[in-house]
Amino acid sequence: MTEPEIVLEMKHIDMRFQGVHALDDVSLTLRRGEVHAVVGENGAGKSTLMKVLVGLYSPNGGEIVFDGKPARFRSVSDTQAAGICMIFQEFNQVKHMTVMENIFLGREPKTRTGSIDYRKMLRDSEALLTGMGLDVSPRIFVRDLTVAKQQLVEIVKAVSYNARIIIMDEPTSALSDTEIAKLLDTVSALRAEGKSIVFISHKMEEIFGVCDRVTVLRDGKFVASDLVSNMDEGGLIRMMVDRDISAMFPKQEAKIGEVVFEVKGLSRKGEFEGISFALKRGEILGLAGLMGAGRTEIVEAIMGTRRLDAGEIFLYGKRIVNKMPGDAIGKGIIMVPEDRKRNGVALKLSVRDNILMSALRKCVRNGFIRRKLEKKYSTEYIDKLEIKTASDSQVCANLSGGNQQKVVIARVLNADPDVIILDEPTRGIDVKTKADIHNLMSQLAVQGKAILMISSELAEVQGMSDRIIVLHEGRITGTLDRGEADSNRIMQYAVGKTEGEVV
């Protein structure tokens, strides 16, 4: 079998940001009609490499060869014109515009008088969308689409540019299983058309399911590149982290004590209804369910971000009311939010400022903030959580996603809570950091913290929880103990079957 022709080569790319060696002699060879996985821990340099490729960063060294000719891309429009399209993790869509306006943004078809030809735009968009088998009206606003559909629209847009290379940065991190299947089908179809796809992912089943070739990066360095068929899962993980992760879910036996936290009959119109559960000392309680099951809404209502229509919250048997997160935190209940960029970290502020934000009072003596105490607490958590940062005054925007997530967790722990709510604590995070966070959760439970965890990843829910509550459309459909929780049963509850129907 002959190898397909090489479309693009990145050779010996070197990239430095103010003292950080982000890419050190990294090479990537992309062939026609292949799905090429780029894997590595967060901070390994995958996203940086892709941003070099699409012209967002200009490298300090190395060259890019495209179609056999050296290329130097200076902007995203350069690469788009050359037929390279990147779909970003936070895709750049104008939410207040329609699907068709987004697809043709910046190259709208014009009428003879120079105004926008919406009729042609509609026709072309319809053709593109149906061509990709996507059931989305071109006239709907992007903000009204699910994340999955937004992602697929973004892919349609890339295709409409006649892109020959499409880069997808963790395209499945926010999707449900059926949506993932649909996306992977689309990827396969694009490959069949001879397009080359760079696929950044942390998920083994996707790498081994859909990818042809894989390139591994670690700490900004090139580790290996080979056909997926020559690899096995364990070997790949070893290459990524340079050590065995024996236990991805290191659940230790924690002594489960008395009820710490309880909710009764929580309801909020249109979001959830009749939610009751109790959380014990040393327990990890998993909240499972599909997207839109109302899990985030429930915990936000507990924290006081959303108003409750009905229901009561008890802490150590005493009824409490939280009007805002500050109230809950003052009582010892704190949350790691789902979307760290939205309400997890203050990106412009330093690691130290973020870690201390929820419990700044700990650093105040006689009315002013003491440098020594700030240093003490921030270094304590940087060390304990192994946050990779140049110093505690490093601005959070310069950290990798996994390390930003650790900063959020550090902030939460620094508030000395009794009840910790974790909303998707490891979404979009590399394998190593994920194992670190799981380890930490386990330790916290052993220390007697009560933990409520939302996760869309079944393996995580099963691996970490002592008990699992499954939600469907805002109602609890099932409660499972650790022993009886197999993925099949969780899924049946999650799609709305009730106690009697589940087999």
Binding site: T305, N343, V345, L349, D353, F368, R371, V395
Partner: protein
């Protein structure tokens, strides 16, 4: 005790980009000073430096005040009108003219500052609780304050202040007229606000709100309270600046202060405050205010016509921010 000195040496980097920004501004400032001193020999005399500092003192207080709001990702457009209103209110208290009440000087000072505080409270509560963008709210109060100033003063300037009132704006602590009171007050405000922004939880929370309000709420910060407090402090400072100005000018006019908000905002921005919030230092703002002051003074000395001055000033604001963006690589 000496904690202020440790505060300055150790707590340098509230975010790594700041010190860098300030160096660029400092270099720009020095270049302007060098240019001016060659262009006109009088520029670098002690007398002129004091004149500049006097002029900068009042608007400098406003720059620091609004700079703090911009760090919080808010704004105050009513500064100019408030300068008029607070000055008028203070002036009416102490004036010995037929409109004035002829009360003792301290009453005037307190009323001037309180007027600012009240407007700060109104702005803050409306922004925080009413969830109306600060731009809109303060655009409204800009008009309200101007209108009230005209009403209270019957459209006429207020004068005939007693010497005991004018004292702080015009006199110096020494007989040789070397260190004016107004400059000392400005310095005190700067030192105090620098302390608040760096060492008090309020200051830290202002940075947090400005950097990511949702994250600040989720982290347990009562952002509404922080906003109201920040506006209270800002209003008080504006009241102080306005009162000081009326002392220096020995009069207060309802038409005074038009465009002051722009000078104050420009000073803060030139001084390295990020217009989208979260970034900036008090000393940077001071430098920004000084740059504007030096340019104003320099153009006076060079005999540049008033109309041209506006064009030059506007251009310098844009160039300064442009250079800053380039250097920081975040254009």
């Amino acid at each position: 005790m000496g904690f202020m000195s440790t505060a300055r040496t150790k707590a340098r980097s509230f975010g790594a980009t700041h010190s860098l920004n300030n160096y660029g501004i400092l270099i720009g400032f020095i270049l302007i000073v060098i240019f001016m001193s060659f262009a006109t020999p009088y520029f670098l005399t002690y007398g002129n430096i004091i004149t500049i500092l006097r002029q900068v003192a009042c608007i400098g207080i406003a720059t620091v005040a609004v700079g703090v709001l911009i760090i919080m990702n808010c704004i105050d457009l009513s500064i100019g009108s408030l300068f008029a209103l607070c000055g008028i209110m203070a002036g009416l208290m102490v004036s010995t003219g037929k409109e004035g009440l002829g009360l003792p000087a301290p009453v005037g000072i307190v009323v001037g500052i309180l007027t600012g505080v009240l407007f700060g409270l109104f702005n803050g509560v409306t922004v925080a609780k009413g969830k109306i963008p600060a731009f809109i709210v303060t655009m409204g109060t800009m008009s309200i304050a101007r209108g009230l100033a005209l009403i209270f003063a019957h459209g006429m300037p207020v004068g005939s202040f007693p010497d005991s009132y004018n004292f702080l704006g015009t006199a110096s602590i020494d007989s040789g007229n070397l260190i004016p009171w107004s400059v000392l007050i400005f310095l005190a405000v700067v030192v105090l606000m620098n302390f608040v922004m760096r060492k008090r939880p309020l200051g830290r929370y202002i940075y947090a709100v400005g950097s990511n309000e949702d994250a600040a709420i989720a982290a347990g910060i009562n952002t509404k309270k922080i906003k109201i407090r920040a506006y209270l402090v800002e209003g008080g400072l504006i009241g102080l600046g306005a009162t000081l100005l009326s002392m220096r000018l020995k009069s207060a006019a309802p038409a005074l202060g038009a465009g002051y908000e722009l000078d104050a905002i420009a000073g803060a921005i030139i001084g390295g405050v990020s217009f989208t919030g979260g970034i900036g230092t008090v000393w940077g703002m001071v430098l920004g205010a000084m740059i504007i002051g030096v340019i104003n003074n320099g153009m006076d000395l060079l005999g540049v016509e008033a109309f041209y001055k506006q064009v030059v000033k506007g251009s310098i604001i844009i160039i300064a921010v442009l250079l800053d963006r380039r250097r920081a690589g975040r254009g």
